[in-house]
């Protein structure tokens, strides 16, 4: 059994709302009930004051990020510049058909499309001529 379990039910339920209360997420009926309880209960009021201190401390951590270890940047840059990683990353951008440049891929695809359309048209015309004979 935790200390929370030994608290009166109203105190327990009010305290479970403290994180939402201090972050401004609590609204409506739960907000009114929690505030009313804190006004009546000195222990919960003190606990809420501690919660507000904690919330402020946690928010302050946003401005104090852990610093990366020395050498991490160099490792990242070295890894990014490895040939195989760059190639894996860049393959689709280098052109799906040519393997070189997107512009060249577009040119290949256009020529292919025009050629296949022409061949198809020729076959259709030939078949039509045979049928008319």
């Amino acid at each position: 059994m935790t200390d929370d379990d030994r608290l009166p039910r109203f105190c327990r339920e009010a305290r479970s709302q403290f994180p939402a209360l201090t972050s401004g997420e609590l609204s409506g009926w739960p907000l009114r009930v929690t505030r009313a309880h804190v006004r009546r209960c000195a222990e919960c009021a003190a606990e809420l004051a501690r919660q507000e201190q904690l919330s402020a401390a946690l928010v302050s951590l946003r401005d104090q990020p852990p610093q990366p270890p020395p050498g991490l940047l160099e490792d990242l840059l070295a890894r990014a510049n490895r040939r195989n990683v760059r190639e894996r990353a860049a393959v689709p951008a280098r052109g799906a058909v040519s393997g070189a440049r997107p512009g060249l891929s577009v040119a290949f695809l256009t020529v292919g499309a025009v050629a296949s359309t022409g061949i198809g048209y020729g076959i259709w015309r030939g078949a039509r001529a045979l049928r008319h004979r």
Binding site: T2, D3, D4, R15, S16, F18, P19, A20, S23, E25, E47, R50, Q51, Q53, L54, S55, A57, L58, V59, S60, L61, R62, Q64, P65, P66, Q67, P68, P69, L72, L73, D75, L76, L77, R79, A80, N81, V85, R86, R88, A89, A90, V91, P92, A93, R94
Partner: protein
């Protein structure tokens, strides 16, 4: 496993501004485009990883993994959100994957912490690698004490605190990220805050909140 979708997370506190032209250059595979992108963002990626994983070596590994994923996936970035937001999601997903792997390894008894073969629910085991509560209480500075106290939390609770209280996501967003209900997030947050209040602010009776 829940993956973070573009719609699930609002603009996060990973506020680093990245020039969209730089991102487009990376998408085109231009040589040299990745370097400034990495330089501009790696410290934020490391900081988030460090807090979520509470281990400097794991955080460095996670940062490496994040940028490998960025290099592989940057083509899929369509600019529907800011690049920083997208990077934040990638980082959180990498950290969650590492936490799950770590939990599995711990269940199998493969990870040696302060109590290498403790059960997964054993709280003292979950503090492995982090400072002991007494060490936290002895730290003078409030922010430093908060940082140290964070490392003593169970991993699931720590992820909730980092994402919600430090990164500033809402309860709903944290629930979506972690693949749990909002009620679970609230319960974890309540337990974590009760413990953190005792460690960081002090409550006079040195009680332990977590069962």
């Amino acid at each position: 496993m829940v993956r973070v979708t573009a719609a699930s997370v609002k603009e996060s506190n990973l506020t680093v501004q990245v020039d969209p032209a730089l991102v487009r250059a990376c998408q085109r595979g231009e040589p040299g485009a990745l370097d400034p992108l990495i330089r501009a963002t790696y410290a934020d990626v490391y900081a988030l990883s460090r807090r979520m994983l509470a281990d400097p070596d794991d955080a460095a590994d996670a940062t490496q993994e994040v940028f490998v994923r960025v290099m592989r996936s940057v083509l899929g970035f369509r600019g529907e959100s800011a690049f920083g937001t997208w990077l934040h999601r990638v980082t959180v997903n990498v950290c969650l994957t590492m936490l799950r792997k770590r939990a599995k390894a711990r269940e199998a008894g493969l990870v040696a912490g302060r109590n290498a073969f403790a059960l997964p629910d054993d709280e003292s085991m979950l503090a492995a690698g982090g400072p002991l509560p007494d060490e936290v209480a002895a730290t003078a500075d409030l922010a430093a004490r908060s940082e140290a106290a964070l490392a003593t939390l169970p991993e699931d609770s720590r992820a909730v605190v980092v994402l919600r209280d430090i990164e500033g996501l809402s309860t709903k967003e944290v629930a979506e990220l972690l693949g749990v209900t909002e009620t679970v997030v609230k319960v974890r947050l309540h337990r974590a805050h009760t413990r953190l209040r005792a460690l960081v602010v002090g409550d006079g009776d040195d009680r332990e909140a977590l069962p």
